[in-house]
């Protein structure tokens, strides 16, 4: 956690407001603000916010992981398939077969 900014101030109606922001280890910024009846409550809310924001991130599940693009068949395989098709299709040596 770094770049922590925190501010608590009193309001005219006797309540207290706060702002808090920081960056976590992954450079992700977190910010919150709120109002509470007492300063203690404000600090508790800030503490709670920091704790949650800094909690270890759950590992991505299999469903969350980006899917690897399916490997396309190699060019060799594709060419071999095409060649087999064209040779079988025509039985070139026997043109009466391909002409029929």
């Amino acid at each position: 956690m770094y770049g922590l900014y925190m501010e608590v101030w009193s309001n005219d109606n006797g309540s207290y407001s706060f702002k808090c922001s920081f960056f976590d280890e992954d450079d992700v910024s977190h910010a919150t603000s709120g109002t509470a009846k007492t300063i203690k409550q404000c600090y508790e809310l800030i503490e709670n916010f920091i704790e949650i924001a800094n909690a270890p991130k759950p590992k991505p599940t299999r469903a969350d992981r980006p899917k690897k693009p399916k490997k396309s068949k190699s060019e060799r395989k594709q060419l071999e398939k095409l060649l087999e098709e064209i040779v079988k299709k025509s039985f070139f040596g026997e043109m009466e077969v391909c002409a029929s």
């Binding site: 060419l79 060649l83 070139f92 026997e94």
Partner: protein
């Protein structure tokens, strides 16, 4: 129709197969050569089946009668020149082969069907036989 029907029709049987004169397991290089023929299942088994051991000479007899002994020599030489794992055709070679075959296939209605020599020289029986026949024409 099985190419061997004329000389050995009595043993013909089964559906038509993609009949390689040089069996596929004996030459990866020649697998896609056009020296492949329409052969019935029974003759294919006699020629190259692992189960039966193959080895029946009828296919070789037909090949020699049709294309000549020098053609047998040429295709056998080509097989021996490309033995082993390194004998596979490269991707650019396969690409070129496919391009050539597509042209041949597109021109099939104007192919000199019935004239073996012209068919071979036009490339319809593959490069090995074509080279062999070209040599014949050149040498005389």
């Amino acid at each position: 129709m099985c190419i061997l029907a004329d000389i050995d029709g009595g043993r013909c049987g089964g559906v038509l197969n993609w009949g390689h004169f040089i069996p596929r397991n004996k030459s990866k290089y020649l697998k896609y050569d056009l020296a492949t023929f329409a052969q019935c299942g029974a003759h294919n088994m006699m020629h190259d089946s692992k189960k039966t051991g193959g080895g029946d000479p009828i296919f070789s007899l037909w090949f020699c009668k049709t294309f000549g002994l020098d053609a047998l020599d040429a295709i056998s030489t080509e097989q021996r020149l490309h033995l082993g794992a390194s004998g596979k055709r490269s991707v650019p070679e396969l690409r070129a082969l496919f391009s050539d075959y597509t042209k041949l296939y597109d021109n099939r209605y104007t192919a000199p069907i019935g004239n073996i020599k012209e068919m071979v020289l036009s490339g319809y029986y593959g490069d090995v036989l074509k080279m062999c026949y070209t040599k014949r024409v050149t040498v005389g």
